[in-house]
Symmetry: C2
Subunit: 433 residues, 2 copies
Amino acid sequence: MALIAAFHEANSNGKSVPKIICFEKQEKVSGLWNLTWKTGIDSNGEPVHSSMYRHQWANGPKECLELANYTFDEHFKKPVPSFPPRGVIQDYLLGRFEKCSKDQDIRFNTVVRNVVEDSGRFIITYENLLTKERCDEIVDYVIVATGHFSVPFMPSYPGLESFNGSVLHSHDFRNAEEFKDKRVVIVGSKYSAEDIALQCSKFGAKKCIISYRKNKIGFKWPENIIEVPECQKIVNKHFYFEDGSIYEADAIIFCTGYNHHYPFLENKLRLKDATNLVYLENLYKGIVLKNNKNVLYLGAQNQCYTFPMFDIQAWFARDVILGNIEIPDEETMNKDINTWFKRCMNLKSNSGALDFQKEYLHDLMKETNYSSFEIISKIAEMYHTCNQDKIDDIMTYRDKCFTSPYTGTVAVTPRKNWFDSLDDSREYFMREN
Amino acid sequence: MALIAAFHEANSNGKSVPKIICFEKQEKVSGLWNLTWKTGIDSNGEPVHSSMYRHQWANGPKECLELANYTFDEHFKKPVPSFPPRGVIQDYLLGRFEKCSKDQDIRFNTVVRNVVEDSGRFIITYENLLTKERCDEIVDYVIVATGHFSVPFMPSYPGLESFNGSVLHSHDFRNAEEFKDKRVVIVGSKYSAEDIALQCSKFGAKKCIISYRKNKIGFKWPENIIEVPECQKIVNKHFYFEDGSIYEADAIIFCTGYNHHYPFLENKLRLKDATNLVYLENLYKGIVLKNNKNVLYLGAQNQCYTFPMFDIQAWFARDVILGNIEIPDEETMNKDINTWFKRCMNLKSNSGALDFQKEYLHDLMKETNYSSFEIISKIAEMYHTCNQDKIDDIMTYRDKCFTSPYTGTVAVTPRKNWFDSLDDSREYFMREN
């Protein structure tokens, strides 16, 4: 969606743009944001893409997500609270998309089965999931924009195979109400663990036991959330943790992240970096595949910034394709990658990662025309503020108001605070606020 | 596994057999029988194949599953009860496999990505899931033996998207203990619905509400299982059924069957028949693809007979490949298919389907050397008896004893009846019985 917006912008400015073909295995746009009650395999026999759940709310201020060429004021026509539920954010994304996607060749219910490099071009083999027909297209560039939050990474513990309760990955978590009155072990210490614990707590779980590997999340949790170190074994329903504590639980939810997974690309075109890094070793400028500069990845790194980063990367990718940005020789490219990558490997804190990725975005913006350094710096500041809000009170950080870096519009205070909001529908949110 | 046994038998009798390559996406043999606690997507990013669950026991006498060239006596060395748990049956399958699979070229962790017909042969594109390398093989015959119990068919109901409980398909059902003290709606009226209701009841579900589409299953259920017709809508946790009844429930389990799904075959080689039929319109003798006689499907129809049918089909497929069975011209083939297919479409009862599939197996056996008509007739009789046992008492049918059609060995009465057996491990079962 970001790439389409990028080319739309170039086209609106009178530039000639190439033909774009989008292959989308779902029946509509917006990827992960398409909430479904389905888990596992979808009705076409494909892995369910979405990892979203009901009652999912923004976990950072929406003002950090605002798109340069489509402000919240333009979309919502009125100030709205800073932390809306999923459906409201999806609606905003769809608003921008509608504005800039006219006459696009988007092939829905269509999955790419294979991409092979052939004399400098690429043969794309794709399949229509409804007719089962397989066809080829020959293209000059491949943009990989499938994301990397769909294929779960799952550790295991001795005794898990005979645990008498629910076992799931956050990818398949759909509804916290399922865990009402239950004792839930939540494995992980990143955003998913934090938010799924909060959700379960909010919707009446008896106890949430967050099991971290290295460091505690460390917020001032409500009474029904505790943190313990790694699990050593499970015996029936008893979980034994490294600090000697033992808890009985009814469910275990793995919030243990995702793997890079690009089964549709031939091996040499696949990104194989570790996930959970904010900079990747095999992508020049975090975008261009080192060993084939006509393969561009969008949003493949871990994200502090999300929508603005996707947009900036898309603008950069567009300008590579339009010939406005030149990819340097291998040595220069490697030197640039190594500098960033080394810094990334030395990052010690969330706050450090935030500043690092800000500088990375600044670096991209030097070469393309998206927004301004000042805006991105404002967004970074808001993220820092929000992180402090979380430390101050994890239960109320979503009730704060932020200011649009583009329009100066100040968000309204939500009529109901997040903890008391049990209706996450767009209709309710827009009517009440 | 059946096809390997078939070729092993021919080879042992001095026949020259072709090179066979097996592609297996799991890390070990026995397909569906590999129980896993995982659901959805496996650690290689592939859909989890198995649909089995803990505490799954045979739902027909093991004497109906006995393999002609590997008796239970040979494997177990002693008489065992007629209804063993999953692990015991898997162990038996593996026993036969070990005996006949020496020097086989089985490529584990390897998934077939594409099969394309090319001048009468086939190009197989496969991928090693560990190295991600993709390679081709050119072969003369393709045997599709992936089965059709892996890709769920999922209906929907108004309100399902906002149901505040667990939603899953029987493919992802792993453990009845998860539903202890819960009220569970079970959609379906076939083997899965029947058995998952029994499991949940046995492991302490508060209430199991089986929702059938056409006909009640109609057994004398225990007090915590009831049957109602189709669901019309769901409001919060309330299910509204066609007969006007309303029940509150905490979970819904779809036991609604599976789709044929062969994403690894080019379209013209894919079987597209409806599932749930005991005879298929596009397979000659239920095996040979009508529009390409070098593509052979094993076990693609719905099964009254399972292991013996797979074996007989494998023996038949082997003899097609060895040139011992000739595939007739199109007209003869169509006539034969139509005769069987029409009869299949007119089947009215389980009992009729059982006799129909017996005759189908007899028909195959005329052309190959597997076992004898007499044995298959004995198996059919045992199934009829077992069906009557279920009608008499669904809670005790698994405590009955049957007699091996091959050795005359009479099964021993289980030390503990099925309902009281809470340990389903092979070790426990073999030690106690």
